[in-house]
Symmetry: C2
Subunit: 449 residues, 2 copies
């Protein structure tokens, strides 16, 4: 594990500083997780109003400490530039005054959101005077591993407070000063009745492998970063991971498509943000569209916008384009695979064989074919006549986005705050006992919530 994960640190800006970065033992990582759970229970015991007030205090503290935050951030940025870090990485690192204000505003928005804890999801009368409720409840302790963006720390910490969870944060070393000051500002705003240990910032060098071993005290890992980061974490821990390693999304253009619509959806799906996980990586086209030149029009619109095309066995011959190395490839750039398929069944089969079950789309005017595709494609998100780029928590209207999951357990696709929750069964009785099921007359009536 150690060796695998050390690979993640290539290219980061680690400076030896024994005081801040002293190696810690496994018990420290465990202690942090245990302390976070204890604090989270105190947080859960507060009233909804008190939890809301903590978020207001965090927002105020961010604004009040704007200058200090910027000063620390500028040191990170300077060090990153000095070390020749990629321009895009440096850009993600910078915290402008506007960004800090907007973070504070988003924390206040989260404060005003309906309390996600303690909602009654289902209510049943089990027997006369014996009432069962299924209620939403915090998951426990989350571990977030994130790269670059120090603003992710603020978003995640405030989501954890809103949902009553404990949190361990492991940020990229290129942002270590920014992360340290943001962590201090936030935890200082948490009242003593809860305790700042609710949110632990892991700053040591060796600790990711240690943390990933703690499946008995950490309930969920959320990696926020490259595909490589996510798949390395997935392959080295028994803790459930909420995230997506691959996003091999397909657009299937059916023979009954509206050509203008198909061009618009295909372009947007690839070009709106080519490196996004919900961008199209493979275009599948019905074989009949070769004859009436629709295939060519779709190809032109991509090529005219600078997309490099690779073909499957059929398309590479028909279109005279290089053959794709594999149908399971995610380009993450202005490139995609094209293939011609027999019909919608062949398209569905191709998606099941080669997709990553993230987001897949059909473009067709035939409602029966559309419903068949929507019913049979076994992916987290399946769209009819809409760009794959809509597959996103904010666009779905989930409010705060936790991430996108291609796992099938717990939460799937774009995940809002409910991905940070579990359930508890609460039963209120009057002394009822089971007594071999003779002691009770079950009624099992649903009670409207």
């Amino acid at each position: 594990i150690d060796k695998v994960l050390r690979g993640l640190r290539v290219g980061t800006l680690f400076h030896q500083d024994a005081r801040l970065w002293a190696p810690v033992t496994d018990s420290t990582a465990r202690d942090m997780a245990v302390a976070a759970r204890e604090s989270s229970r105190k947080l859960q015991a507060l009233s909804s109003e008190d939890r809301k007030q903590i978020l207001y205090s965090v927002a105020d503290a961010l604004e009040a400490n704007e200058e200090t935050i910027r000063a620390e951030n500028e040191l990170d940025v300077a060090a990153a530039q000095e070390a020749g870090l990629e321009e895009s990485m440096v850009a993600r690192l910078v915290m402008t005054p506007a960004k800090i204000l907007s973070l504070a505003a988003s924390v206040r928005k989260l404060a005003d959101m309906e309390d996600p804890i303690g909602r009654v999801l289902k209510k049943t009368e089990v027997a006369e005077g014996l009432v069962l409720e299924k209620t939403s409840s915090p998951l426990g302790v989350l571990l977030i591993v994130f790269e670059s963006r120090p603003d992710a720390l603020v978003q995640i910490a405030s989501l954890a407070i809103r949902s009553g969870n404990g949190l361990l944060l492991k940020g990229g070393k290129e942002a270590r000063r920014s992360n340290a000051i943001l962590h201090k500002v936030i935890t200082d705003a948490i009242p003593e009745t809860v305790g700042g240990k609710l949110i632990g910032l892991v700053t040591s060098r060796e600790e990711i492998p240690d943390l990933l071993k703690l499946d008995d005290v950490i309930d969920l890992v959320i990696p926020r970063g490259s595909n490589k980061l996510v798949s390395q974490i997935k392959s080295t821990t028994k803790i459930p991971v909420l995230g997506h390693a691959d996003g091999i999304c397909h657009v299937y253009v059916d023979k009954a498509c509206n050509l203008d619509m198909a061009k618009r959806i295909v372009s947007d799906s690839k070009l709106d943000y080519p490196a996004a996980c919900n961008a199209m990586e493979t275009l599948l086209v019905h074989k009949d569209l070769e004859q009436n030149a629709v295939l060519n029009e779709l190809i032109f619109v991509l090529q005219n916008n600078g997309v490099t095309l690779y073909g499957g066995p059929k398309a590479s011959t028909i279109l005279n384009i290089p053959e794709a190395r594999s149908f399971n490839h995610e380009y993450c750039s202005k490139a995609c695979t094209v293939e011609v398929v027999e019909d919608v069944y062949a398209a569905i089969d191709h998606i099941h064989r080669h997709g990553s079950a993230h987001t897949d789309c059909i473009v067709t005017e035939d409602p029966e074919v559309a419903e068949l595709f929507l019913r049979q494609v076994d992916s987290a998100a399946v769209f009819h006549n809409a760009s794959t780029r809509f597959s996103d928590g904010f666009r779905f209207g989930l409010g705060a986005e936790v991430g996108i999951s291609t796992g099938r357990i717990h939460a799937r696709g774009p995940v809002g705050v409910e991905g940070l929750l579990t359930t508890r069964w609460i039963m209120r009785g009057k002394g009822q006992v089971v007594d071999g099921d003779n002691g009770i007359a079950y009624t099992h009536q649903d009670i409207p919530i």
Copy 2:
């Protein structure tokens, strides 16, 4: 892994029979899982009515083959008796004509249940003419590892068919002939359009460790057997496990209790089925109850019913009973731990420190103390004035029970058929694109379902 899991087979009735039990390679296990997923997709593509019909055919086939099933079962039972298997194990193995009829009836009941697949759980207008639905969907491929009871095979197979999932079954060797004939009867009743590979019966000797490695093709493991089986599986696989290893359930009797009710609930929680996972293992009593002799009355009712008591540091002195080895102990028998606590806060703290987050109960007439306990105890099931024995899928009214989960992810506590489901996001549009979020006016209105 191999070594750990081989431990599970001690005491089973393995006979060398190269034809049936030839070792298989990893690719075979993988092939079975892949084939089960392919068949499950065909099953999902059927209409709800067609899936229902399969279950009716299974029920008919069980009745039609009653004699053959009993003949094979009698061979298992005879071999078990000859090998000197425990009487209770042999009893669980026996399939009487009545049991077979009742299994067929329960399969028909499941057939008549509302289709769990494709239900719309949430509906949102994302923008004008762009509608998003969150729908229930099969999880994929399940692996069930079960001991003894061949009836579990029938229950689980019919649950898998109802929920559109593929299934791999690994039964105990003491029931191998019964499992083989039941598997044949069920899969013969599955139409060719779906294929009998929907349900694979793993009969080889070495295959559990192989199966537990297949986290890329198996979505969930459900162990049905001893605590030891569950914890060994949990510690050797990256596949999510739905189950419970420990059930350390508490009853806390508050100072404001009704004595008769407390006696009734404490007795039922321990004595209704002492070895059950939802039986009381620890009785916590408020310190004030020592003075007014309530503590003694609670102790007497347990001792008079043959329960052996062990005390925590305080209770063992007060009551002059042997000290408990640990508060984290599950007796699974007519024995339990008793301790005296300061107040409800100390009780909650004790439960968090020593419990297994399965089911915990407070007995009190004080509504404020009750609500505090219900709100703060972080267990899958938390009860006020009701026996811990109610923590069960059938008693909760969930219909078919999949199991009880002490995990915090996906499903928690008693789990019905929804534990075998995930979700898919379905979006229907009219050609909408994202275009940097400039191409669309988000409305994000909830649509009533």
